[in-house]
Every structure is written in C-alpha cells, then in structure tokens.
Amino acid sequence: MCPATEAVLMEGELSSLPDAPVSGPDQAIRRLRAGDREAFADLMGLTEARVLALAWRILGDRHLAEDAAQETYLRAFRSLDHFRLGEPFEAWLIRIAVNVCRDLSRKRGQQPVALASLDGLEAGATAPGAEEAVLLDQRRALVRQALATLPQGERVALVLRDLEGLTSEEAARILGLRPATVRSQVASARAKVQAHCARRLAAPKGGRP
C-alpha cells in the first residue's frame, strides 16, 4: 500500500515540476528576448493557473492572491534576463511567487482567523437535501481554518509539498532549506491539520490527541 498513490489528485495543474514540459517556457523566453513582448502573455498562459492557486493557498485570500500573482509576473519580467534557459522555469517562478507572498504576508501582518464560517458546524439542523452540500462547505471552511492557524513556514512547506506536488527536495531548494527541515515542517503541519479537524468535527472518532 502506498498512500501517496491513493491521494486524491485534485487538478491537472498539480503535476510535479520534473514532469512539466520545459520547452514551452524556453521558447516563449527566446521570443521575448528577441523583442516579442507578446511572448510574455504566452508564458503567463503556461503558468498563471498554478501561480494563482499557489498564492491563494499561501495567503488564504482571493484578492490578495490576485495581487500577488500580478506582482510575481511583474518581478519575473524584470528579472527575466537573469533566468538561464534550460532550467525549470516553473520552479524559478514559484520561488518568486513564494517571496512575493511572504512580503505581502509581512505587510498584512498576522490576521485573525475568521470563525464566522464555522458557527454552524455542530448545529446539524439543515434540510435533508442540502445537508451534504452544507457539510462539504463546513468541512472546507474547517480545513482552511486549520491551514490558517499554521505557522507561515509550515504552511508554505505544506502547500508546496502536498498541494503543489513538489518533492521535499524541490520544496527545499525553493525555500532555501534542507530537505529534512521541509519534511519535519510538513509532518508537523499534517498532524496539526488532522488534529484541528478531529477536534471540530464530530464524525471522526479517536485520532491523534
């Protein structure tokens, strides 16, 4: 039994970096360096879904994520002369996006977790037809709240490793950490998310304390 293979793959955008084609970004960058500015739109088309999702998962706010994605591409455009062809463009871009998100988080400061969306978790007084949809919404809100309570380092590591599909080594290179540190952060984050859900949901019994 291999748990990783049983994990739910949510989107095609979560393909890991080594599997992602590198010719597309390289071709667009060559055109860009030849003076074709529209090639940057093609470059964005290859990566923007991933950058938006990454920023949203780290920041937890849709509008802030859009701002972060925009700033990521502007920084990437200004730094494109330093990018070496043949290297994984997405990893380079993700590194920029993570830095932008960290900057925005620092400017925003520590935000309190919104608890309003969880008020009805234990109520259970819903119409039979809508019960499943309500539970789904509540579960999503609960997990997002759990993610929001994580320290930033653990949260970023968890997003890169479990949601962006990077290996611990790839995430470590992006974050400038040792792979063992990333594994430790990710393990701590997974346990906290599970414990948070177990405390708030009545369905799972037992679990880790």
Binding site: M10, E13, A187
Partner: protein, 207 residues
Amino acid sequence: MTHPHVLDQLPLWVEGDLTAPELEAVERHLAACPACREAADQLRQSQAWLREALASPFGAEDRARLRASVMARLAAPPPAPRRFLVPSALLAAAAVLVVAVLTWNRPQGKPAPLPTAGTGPEFTSRATAGATDIPAPAPPLPPRVRLARAAHAQAQLQVRQRPDGTALPRREPARLEFQTADPTIRIIWLAQATPLPDPNPTLEETP
C-alpha cells in the same frame, strides 16, 4: 491502544516520505494494530480534505483578467523619473536665509560693535561716554536676538606657514561671525569638510 512511536511517523507515512525500511516497519505494525490503523485512516482522510478544500477557485476568466492586467502594466510607459527635489529645497532654504539676514539687519541700522574684553554693561558705558557723562541705559532687547554680521575675519591661527615663511597651500574653512545684541554673545560659524586646523600648530605637523 495506539503506539506513539508509530503515530509520530504517520504524518510522513501518509505521503510516502518515509524511507523503505521505515515504511515497511510502519505498515507491518498497522496490519497488526487496529487503533493505529484507525489513526492512519483519519490522517489520510484529512489529507484528502485538505486537497478538496484547497482546490483552486480561479477559472479561465480570472486568468484572462490577470494576464490582461499584467500585459497592460508592461505596455504602459515607465513612470516619469522623480524630480530631483533637493536642489529646489536648497534654493528655497537659501532664499529664506538671505531674506532673514536682510530683515534682521535692516532695523538695526548700524551693526553692533564687536566686543572687546569686558562685560555688557561696561561696553555700553564706553560706547556712550563721548556723548554724556551719564551712562545711558542699556537698550532694551528686542523680542528676538538681533544679529549683526561682523567682519569676515580670518583668524591668525588660520594662516599656517612653513618654517621658511611661505604659506601653506591649505584650504581654510568658511568662517562667518555674527554679533548678537548682547555683546557677550558672539556666534562664529565655521564649516569645513576636513578637520579644522589646529589652533596651535607645531613644527611636527608641517611636512
């Protein structure tokens, strides 16, 4: 009953982050321990919920808007360079200074004489001795300190000479002196980028 040494490894086990021997040991234990197996199932469940809850909410429209926004920013002409404000500020400050000096000097008419040795009342008495024997009362101080520009005096210490008598080619500091209405107070302003000359130069200092 769960086993802590296995529970500690489950967060790594759940995404395949254990080494092969560790993985084999954990799975052997899970096959024989229902309590730990339940904890492992819950961890897998929360990982599935994590992926479910954090599915990207952005669609094609959001991506197109982002692309259009970024391309518009790139196509926009670069912002005009900021005007260098320091010269303007310096000019304004210099103008204010000139006006202030001229305004201060105007009502005074005659600049106050430079003080010699002595105190304020003695100085006043000497200045009016030729007019009358009765010492004139000291003039009332104006609401602000009146400044009178003194001569641009080159102090003797500033003239530095070699032992053979030739002057040293040394740049002297800018010196400005003001005499306030109170003859005991004199304002001397020296400005130089390099250290000020030694008031008592010695032969060791000269090359």
